[in-house]
Amino acid sequence: MLLIRCPYCEEERPELEFRHAGEAHVARSSEISDISDEAFEQFFFIRSNPKGIVFERWRHLNGCARFFNAARDTVSDRFLTTYKAGEPKPDVAGLLK
């Protein structure tokens, strides 16, 4: 069971309190009605699914209930960092140091 740091509660809590919520930084267009089929495909269907560092969303469901973002290594399950929704993608190279 992983320990995950909620950036809102500012503490590590057991995985049981959280729910995974898919890839992060997939923005919904404010003009979504008008986007092309290709753009919609990218937005709705295509996910990066990398081996290595993934940016993903979590929800502190059984806690503060906030959605937030995390950078996690899919090989080691190690969390490099967690950060609030809306904050920019952190610099991976910096985190790996």
């Binding site: 069971m1 992983l2 320990l3 729910r19 919520a21 919904r28 404010s30 979504i32 009605s33 986007i35 089929d37 919609f40 937005f43 709705f44 969303r57 929800r59 469901l61 209930a65 906030r66 959605f67 080691s76 399950d77 190690r78 929704a85 809306g86």
Partner: protein
């Protein structure tokens, strides 16, 4: 004399404390403190099992958790049967009953042993090759027979009556393994004051010190030192000592799973839990898991009586048991000499030591010779005599030459020691091959842990203790934010030490590639050296492939004794170096863990919560039959005396339309959407327009996913400009809330809106039917219930029975109807008051089944039954609920996808069987032509189907390709006993004009 192999004066057990037990029905006596293995050996019993595949007779290989052979069934009573228990781990208790496994009719004569003769057909990969064809035979013939003939114990047939406990624990330093290294690390860590947990799988701490008679620390014998150290630790408040506790799994972030066997060693377990599962989160982990001795790989090395030298030593020095009277030794390193010396000193005859090394030397070799033990260097054991027990060893110079047969009744073997890197590997650390010592050792660490002692390749007691003391201190100080070089003030004087390096890997002489002998590498899975060579010949290049093809090191064994030999043989056959071939991954659990420990308290009523509504006990008292809907118990129907389900549902449906019915709708999800931007938020989450909905009015809302498919639906009431009372489906409550929160927090955070789940705050009583208003009127205060003041699809706040209510005029039956929301605590009282009024009009209580029928009569869909996640509003005939002028809502773009606009989509329609008495089966397929060849082209399926007493016929809904354009067509539902003709039509079967809603 009982226990003929017990040696007076040897071991640590008390001769007076005898314990009775049975094995295969025969009564024996052992001593308190025995394992089942030591007690059987004390009685001269070596044959204890039949092997997995070939049914070969098997005895004890080891004295510990690595035991691959001596797996038995332990039973306390009819329900308490545990298969595959390692006899070397099971502690003896008075009345213990053990049975051998995988044999019929008896252990001594086993019909399944024919497999041994058939072995050419059962070689490596036989599962994958021999029984491939024909396909049908696999199911009926091969699999059942293989399962019957090959296998281990039999799973118990009844529910487990025992209970299991669980604990979460946090500590600064977790030390795994309580031998010399673990004790030293724990002492050093504990002395800094941090929280320490020390666990060991044995019943007491000491590890190899239990049998290493040559160890002396601080002037004490090794085991006495261990006891002293244990006493010291036990007296410290910051230390938790766990014996009989196996660390079975090492997971991310220093999360380690332990199982503590609480009562398996007790004659009367009482009310204590059988096992306790510990989930430990440690800041630092010290692995002191020791090393496991390897056997020698030679012909028929699985004969009962052939065992690891260290095991014989443990049986002697701990349990006072000689494993034979005339014992042979076959070794490639020094440690077996120590066993021979201990046994010789205890008065046991050592027939000869056969040493593969050309020129063994050193103090142990000298001591053995001086005790008069015959040492044969440069020789190999190339075979054994005996059938159910070894009777001789056949010795040959390792380069070939004359053979000599030496009678023995036990044969001790040692090919060297393999560091136990299982947990290190599970922690995702990378092992590194040390070419000089020919072993894999911890290399790169992935977590905050450290290995000490034999599992780290540290030979020698003094080095081990120094390393462990330092590591314990460093680990503890690191948790305090301090750095330490370690070892301060903890120097121990090691007066005498035993250390074991060296040995050999792979097959021994006489079991090489040019032979066909059965030289076992993995006893538990019946894998021989030949099998591994065959796997390589058949193209397996990776050791992971070899493992799966041969099953070497798989299952519960996890390669404890077999891994290194298997790897060496594969490497030799491939002509590669060992590190090039690589080591297989070690997987959890280290030793088997019971399902009971894992499932733990999550059984029966504690498996999942049961949710009951506020009116549950009323329904129960009125004879309701309940159905499970998710976690909810919902009243399904209310049978009267003499009624079956069908009769009850028919009566309930008719009563609702004739008079009225009461229905408990409390399980509906309810969400309050509040704030200045509440209407804007609703516009984005639902397809419908909301801005112009007047406060006090309701609307049926549809929620889509971004892909354009229906996600949920429900009636929404606008209580005021900034407050919506949203209802969801019962099953959708939690996910709709999550869906809304997701969009509010991440896509539309600019909207000033709060979402609150109110599902459990409001009990909901649906009162439906022409008399519904008459029933409610006397109870309601402050609300004008007239059609003019409160038309269909409106909501008012007021009170009922003096209790606040949100009163909806809405209908899921097609009748005039109300849904009375009251605070849940008042739910039953208000229900009873309404019921009393309802009885005056002959109203009934109705359940979920009648609710389903009534809504189907009106063609109202149920999301998840009539839709399946690929249905659009248009498909469901709900286009009218999509705001055509809207520029954005979740799903708006998905709806424009070409496939969702294409013709021929499956669309929801009504289905009437040509024979009105026939009720279709839900899920049945629909075809155009019932006479077409199989497989038929299926163009749709039935989603809802009922007998409608109100319509006097069966009714159904279904989705059919291009269904909206097929009204009037006759299609067919093929069933096993003939095809059923159905006519496509409107899904509204009752009151097609919808007049009853309004009056």
């Amino acid at each position: 004399m009982t226990q003929p192999f017990r040696i007076p004066g040897a071991g640590r057990l008390t001769p007076a404390k005898t314990v009775r037990f049975t094995f295969d029905g025969k009564a024996y006596t052992g001593l308190e403190g025995d394992t089942l293995a030591s007690a059987l050996l004390a009685n001269g019993v070596h044959l204890v099992g039949r092997s997995f595949k070939y049914h070969r007779p098997r005895g004890f290989l080891s004295a510990g958790a690595e035991e691959p052979n001596a797996l038995v069934e332990i039973s306390r009573d009819a329900t308490r049967k545990t298969p595959n228990v390692r006899a070397t781990v099971q502690e003896l208790y008075d009345g213990l009953a053990a049975r051998s496994q995988n044999r019929w009719p008896s252990l001594g004569f086993d019909v399944g042993a024919i497999n041994n003769l058939l072995s050419p057909f059962l070689s490596a990969g036989f599962y994958y090759k021999t029984f491939m064809w024909p396909k049908a035979a696999w199911k009926r013939l091969y699999e059942p027979n293989i399962r019957a003939a090959a296998g281990l114990g039999v799973a118990p047939g009844e529910a487990d009556p025992d209970h299991y406990a669980a604990r979460f624990a946090h500590c600064d330093v977790l030390v795994v393994g309580g031998g010399a290294a673990g004790l030293a690390a724990a002492l050093a860590a504990a002395e800094t004051g941090v929280r320490v947990i020390l666990c060991d799988e044995q019943l007491e701490f000491g590890g190899a010190l239990r049998y290493e008679s040559g160890a002396r620390i601080d002037g004490l014998g090794g085991f006495d030192w261990a006891r002293q150290a244990t006493g010291k630790l036990a007296a410290m408040d910051n230390v938790r000592l766990l014996t009989r506790t196996t660390a079975f799994g090492y997971y991310a972030q220093n999360f380690v799973g332990l199982t503590e066997r609480v009562t398996d060693h007790l004659a009367t377990p009482g009310t204590a839990p059988r096992e306790r599962l510990w989930q430990v989160r440690a800041a630092r982990v010290v692995l002191a898991t020791g090393a496991i001795e390897r056997h020698m790989v030679f012909a028929d090395n699985d004969r009962p009586g052939v065992m690891l030298a260290s095991a014989a030593r443990a049986f002697l020095n701990q349990y006072g048991v000689a494993v034979g009277r005339t014992i042979g030794v076959y070794t490639a390193n020094d440690s077996a000499y120590a066993a021979a010396i201990d046994l010789k000193k205890a008065g046991v005859d050592i027939a000869a030591i056969v040493d593969l090394r050309d020129d063994p030397s050193g103090p142990l070799v000298e001591q053995a010779r001086s005790l008069g033990i015959e040492v044969n260097p440069g020789r190999a054991v190339v075979g054994v005599g005996g059938r159910n027990r070894v009777s001789s060893m056949i010795v040959q110079p390792k380069g070939g030459g004359g053979k000599r047969t030496i009678p023995v009744d036990a044969l001790l073997v040692s090919a060297g020691w393999t560091p136990s890197v299982h947990l290190f590997s599970q922690s995702r650390g990378k092992v590194a091959f040390d070419a000089e010592s020919q072993r894999f050792l911890p290399g790169q660490y992935a977590q905050d842990c450290v290995s000490v002692g034999a599992c780290n390749g540290t030979d020698g007691l003094a080095e081990t203790l120094n390393e462990a003391f330092a590591a314990g201190e460093v680990a503890a100080k690191a948790t305090l934010g301090e750095t330490s070089a370690g070892g301060g003030g903890n120097a121990r004087k090691v007066d005498a030490s035993e250390d074991w390096a060296g040995g050999m890997l792979g097959s021994a002489p006489g079991a090489g590639a040019d032979t066909t002998v059965k030289a076992f590498v993995d006893f538990q899975n019946d894998v021989t050296a030949k099998d591994i060579r065959q796997a390589v010949r058949e193209g397996m290049r990776s050791i992971e492939h070899v493992k799966r093809f041969t099953t070497n090191g798989m299952a519960t064994d996890q390669g404890k004794t077999s891994n290194m030999h298997g790897l060496a043989i594969a490497a030799e056959t491939l002509g590669k170096e060992i590190p090039e071939v690589g080591l297989t991954t070690f997987r959890a659990p280290y030793t088997p863990v019971t399902f009971g420990a894992i499932v733990n308290h999550a059984r029966h009523e504690l498996f999942d919560p049961t949710r009951r509504t506020a009116m549950h006990s009323w329904a129960e008292a009125h004879g309701a039959v309940f159905e499970d809907v998710g976690q909810w118990k919902r009243a399904w129907y209310f049978p009267r005396p003499g009624e079956d389900m069908h009769a009850a549902v028919n009566r309930e449906c008719v009563t609702v339309r004739r008079s009225a019915g009461l229905f408990d709708a409390s399980t509906l999800g309810k969400i309050e959407v509040v704030g200045p931007d509440a209407a804007a938020f609703m516009e984005l989450l639902y397809t419908n327009p909301w801005q112009k909905l007047e406060p006090g009015r309701c609307r049926y809302g549809i929620m889509l996913r971004e892909d354009g498919f229906i996600y949920d639906d429900g009636v929404v009431g606008r209580l005021s400009a900034d407050r919506f009372h949203v209802t969801t489906t019962t099953g959708g409550a939690a996910r709709v809330m999550n869906h809304m929160e997701d969009y509010l927090q991440t896509e539309f955070p600019h909207l000033n809106v709060w979402l609150t789940s109110i599902s459990e705050q409001w009990a909901v009583i649906a009162v439906q039917g022409p008399k519904s208003r008459d029933i409610l009127a006397p109870l309601v205060e402050g609300i004008d219930l007239s059609d003019a003041a409160m038309p269909h699809m409106s909501v008012r706040e007021g009170s009922i029975c003096g209790v606040p209510t949100r009163l909806f005029r809405m209908s899921f039956t097609g009748e005039r109807g109300f849904e009375v929301n009251v605070p849940a605590d008042y739910g039953q009282a208000v229900w009873e008051a309404i019921w009393a009024e309802g009885e005056k009009y002959g109203a009934c209580a109705y359940g979920t089944e009648a609710m389903h029928v009534l809504r189907a009569e009106k063609g109202y869909i149920i999301v998840g039954q009539d839709t399946d996640g690929t249905v659009t509003p248009n498909d469901a005939g709900l286009d009218w609920a999509v705001g055509k002028k809207k520029t954005d809502f979740v799903g708006i773009r998905g709806l424009k996808r070409p496939d969702l606009l294409a013709s021929g989509r499956k669309q929801l329609v009504g289905l009437k069987t040509v024979d009105p008495k026939v009720v279709l089966e839900e899920g049945a397929q629909i075809v155009q032509d019932p006479n077409q060849p199989i497989p038929m082209t299926m163009i749709g399926h039935v989603t809802s189907s009922y007998w409608s007493e109100n319509c006097g016929r069966s009714i159904a809904m279904g989705v059919v390709a291009g269904g909206h354009g097929r009204l009037g067509e006759t299609l067919h539902v093929p069933m096993p006993d003939g095809s059923i003709a159905v006519e496509i039509g409107s899904a509204v079967f009752f009151d097609e004009m919808g007049e009853r809603l309004h009056g």
